[in-house]
Symmetry: C2
Subunit: 550 residues, 2 copies
């Protein structure tokens, strides 16, 4: 009888075990989990800290007893694999003081990843914590109970976990300082797209320390003194580190398996490691970003679950390919949703891909229906043929829907002309007859067809010519681009003669839509015109970005 | 100078006029609108009746003055086109008592559709109303003010408008009787999928009269006596007819233009009528359902807007194809969202398409995160290769997102194997690591690959063999399939010997997921097994359907 051993019992490992059993009633399955739980809701931890998920038990998706019984799997929690001997198909396991060997026919590694701690002095203070497991969460909650109120808590790292933890702490009414080494949170976003996130964090009482790296931590009797590399420092009651994770690949490495980028376990498209009887899935493995054709480490639950399922099939002799990832991701930041898919502009700039981008600031549903809120969307696509490369969006409602639709558009290798034709469901509570995604398609296709010509905010300072603000006078209170003249759109046709036809014209409105109308008009009247992509709204975010970077 | 005349100034007509001007500053554009407004929010009317959209002015998306000025269009409201002379490129127009002719180079017909009134005695009573235009809405609101409370209001027709109006009236705390000739509301759904909608309507105090056609209306001094064809009758204070619309094609017909199905104006893929200088768009035209390759009449705002844009380009000499429709639609029914895309099973049954279907009843986001609600999803696909044919969904949250993703999947000609690999955005407030759409893909692909075998509720009565309910005993309170025996999943492995190996086994659980686990197990133990698609949840809806049909 075939014996399959699985190392790690959370997303990838548990998915694989269940699938193995469904596909093969006879195979013998042993699941070794180092920690005390299997299949717990990793992604739910911050919400329990914040009190949003009230019962801790909700996080235990499957109990050992239930899982063992249902899937006839020998589940061993508290069993840690010490070494792998690929040649003899053997793992060495420790269970407390006991130690034993276990043979396997196929081995699946799903060891996950561990939180990274910066290598600085003072990081070993017990008031420096991470959030990766249930015990981590329990410790944070216990420490929070001991902490004095009004002493801020430091959160190091502005990625998903950092932001979720910051929100959780604010829910508990604790003062929070979010520290980020970059000039922006949420690195999957381009900097100008992170600006509304920064504003939202500030509105919700999170103190943002951007562009700050920790150089050392001083342990005080009543807290921690965090010293920044700019020699400033700040005092916190405790520090939660959320600066990312690294693959748990030590076992694999010691067993001589080939590693990938950032110390991940290297697997082929069938999730097979360099040893053909050893498979690996989840947060520990290198995967493949098919959009840019390069290896990535993407420790997310969705791919881990799907990989577990595929690896199970493949260990049973099938040949099912994991297609790679496109980095679809979302994070709730208080009332804001922040989503992204595919490649961002920062990354594109490092390649020779010839891309374009559009910005849409549009209501998430019909503007005349109560509760409409703005979605800020950035879409990147190939200049050559309009193929979609990636997108980012923020907003209070409907962000996840647009990112998911674009995730599918990306998966289907669609282009901006396809977005023009999207037939999405429309009723006033849900969308608009011309959805923001249709609009993104319209704007992009207009540019590719040569029906409009955009200028991006970053090039405005280099523009030589006349800058025309076509908004209504009352809109100018929000700010203007310097040296612009104001000719409201509805009088532009009659006042076009005020412009110098020998000079280029830069048109801008609030979001780019009226700018398109104006730029079409002036172009046909003989002017050389560019329309500011995303209008003043994007421009403002851009200016803010420059300030944050400096 | 080229002169383009547009007949009808709402969705299609207004979109076309604006696009024409953006693309061509020189063309002369006349927009003739019979009614008092252009570009009003048709889809918002029911929500103003219900008081959800408080200000009537919000429904006026563009004013005549603003539109005329911005787009340099000669907008004539209250101007009705009496006839078209295609040969001489002439339209005859009436403006009150005045009458005049207008020549055109290109003519765009966007006359819309009108509400259908059943041809029965008493239908001309002034208390019989329809809802199609702002004046219609104003009249309904005025009449509602005069009505005596506690006398129910009849709504005839359980389509989008009928349901939206019923909800609006209930918001005003008025008693409502919804009358529908079919055995279900919302004909884009298959009958079993409409069951939760019926339940929801009842929960919100709508009295449902299904399977009732009106045979006549008696005018009483204090209301209307509605007589059904089953000789029952009911008294209402007023009746709002929402039994559908018919294309406004009389003008086109009289001008000798070719008509399509249901009296629509026939257009080619470039939105050109049978006369090459006359284009037509919107609710009046025949369009093309590309999923089933047949002509349809789909009077919805989304296609109308996109058609207007394309027709404008084509009238200016481009050749841009309208790709046809896939019938994406959604309706809010109180707290429920009801969406559909593509073809439904009722329609498939009338074809020789070899299809399969799956049902998913799944949380709209992670179950451990507060507020999870169930999405009921039905997916139809080609048996041959898994290509997606259509889907329907109901639920309180996240329905629009799944329908939109499937709309794109349909547009991209994707199959159920692609759904397995969907990489949608996941964080606990938004979805699950295995989204309901991934799950739909898993279930369908399992069947197509031969890893599971489903039985549909409608065939359970013909099943010969053992029916095994594998739910936990406390779940059986919700009801069971008669003649089933209960063996909970977690003891099935040890109790399998209780089953007769010579007889087929029908497995069911609540939604089909555990049934899959059980059926895999028993199949490998040598049994012939089928798993009930959608589990007891779908079965219950099916039983309910039979009762409604009888």
């Amino acid at each position: 009888m075939k014996h399959i051993v699985i190392v790690g019992g959370v997303a990838g490992g548990a998915s694989a075990a269940a699938r193995l059993r469904r596909m093969d009633e006879k195979v013998s399955i042993t699941l070794l989990e180092r920690g005390p739980y299997i299949s717990f809701a990793n992604c739910g931890l911050p919400y329990h800290i914040g009190g949003e998920i009230i019962e801790r038990d909700k996080l235990l998706v499957q109990t050992v007893e239930q899982f063992s019984k249902r899937f006839n799997v020998n589940v061993c929690v508290g069993h840690e694999v010490l070494s792998i001997d690929p040649e003899h198909h053997l793992v060495e396991v420790a269970n407390g003081d006991e130690q034993y060997s276990l043979t396997y026919d196929k081995l699946l590694l799903s060891p996950g990843a561990q939180a990274i701690l910066p290598n600085i002095s003072g990081i070993d203070d017990p008031r420096v914590l991470v959030l990766r497991s249930l015990p981590d969460m329990d410790l944070i909650i216990a420490r929070l109970r001991q902490i004095r109120p009004n002493v801020p808590i430091g959160v190091l790292g502005g990625g998903f976990i950092g932001l979720e933890v910051a929100e959780a702490l604010r829910r508990l009414n604790l003062p929070v300082i979010l520290i980020e080494a970059q000039s922006q949170v949420m690195s999957s976003l381009d900097p100008e797209m992170a600006v509304p996130v920064h504003q939202h964090l500030l509105e919700h009482g999170v103190e943002l320390h951007l562009n700050r790296s920790l150089s050392r931590i001083h342990s005080l009797h009543d807290g921690l003194q965090l010293e920044y590399n700019n020699s400033q420092s700040v005092k916190v009651g405790m520090l939660i580190c959320a600066v990312g994770v690294k693959a748990e690949s030590q076992l694999a490495e010691e067993a001589g398996l080939e590693l990938g980028i950032n110390g991940t376990i290297k697997v082929n498209e069938y999730l097979q490691t360099s040893h053909s009887d050893i498979y690996a899935v989840g947060d520990a493995v290198q995967t493949y970003d098919w959009v840019l054709n390069h290896p990535v480490h993407l420790p997310l639950a969705g791919p881990a679950n799907r990989q577990g399922r595929l690896a199970a099939d493949n260990m049973l002799g099938h040949k099912r390919r994991f297609r790679g990832v496109q980095k679809t991701a979302i994070c709730r930041v208080f009332d804001l949703s922040v989503g992204a898919v595919g490649v961002n502009e920062k990354t594109l700039k490092e390649t020779d891909v010839d891309y374009q981008k559009v910005y849409i600031h549009s209501n998430h549903h019909a503007g005349y229906f109560p509760g409409a809120s703005t979605i800020h969307l950035k879409l990147l696509y190939l200049k050559e043929n309009g193929q979609i490369l990636g997108a980012q969006a923020t907003g209070k409602e409907g962000v996840d829907k647009r990112i998911d639709v674009l995730a599918l558009a990306l998966q289907a290798r669609m282009n901006v002309y396809d977005l023009e034709e999207l037939e999405l469901c429309y009723a006033p509570p849900y969308g608009s007859a011309k959805d923001p995604l249709n609009q993104a398609g319209f704007v992009a296709a207009n540019c590719l067809r040569g029906d409009d010509d955009m200028i991006y905010s970053e090039y405005v300072k280099d523009f030589v010519g006349q800058i025309v603000d076509i908004r209504d006078p009352e809109e100018l209170k929000a700010g203007i681009i310097s040296d612009s003249i104001n000719i409201p759109l509805d009088s532009l046709r009659e006042r076009a003669s005020e412009l110098d036809p020998t000079q280029a014209v830069l048109i801008y409105c609030q979001v780019g839509l009226r700018g398109h109308v104006a730029s079409c008009m002036l172009r046909q009247l003989g002017f050389r015109v560019v329309n500011l992509a995303g209008g003043y709204c994007t421009y403002q975010d851009w200016v803010e970005t420059l300030q944050e970077e400096s």
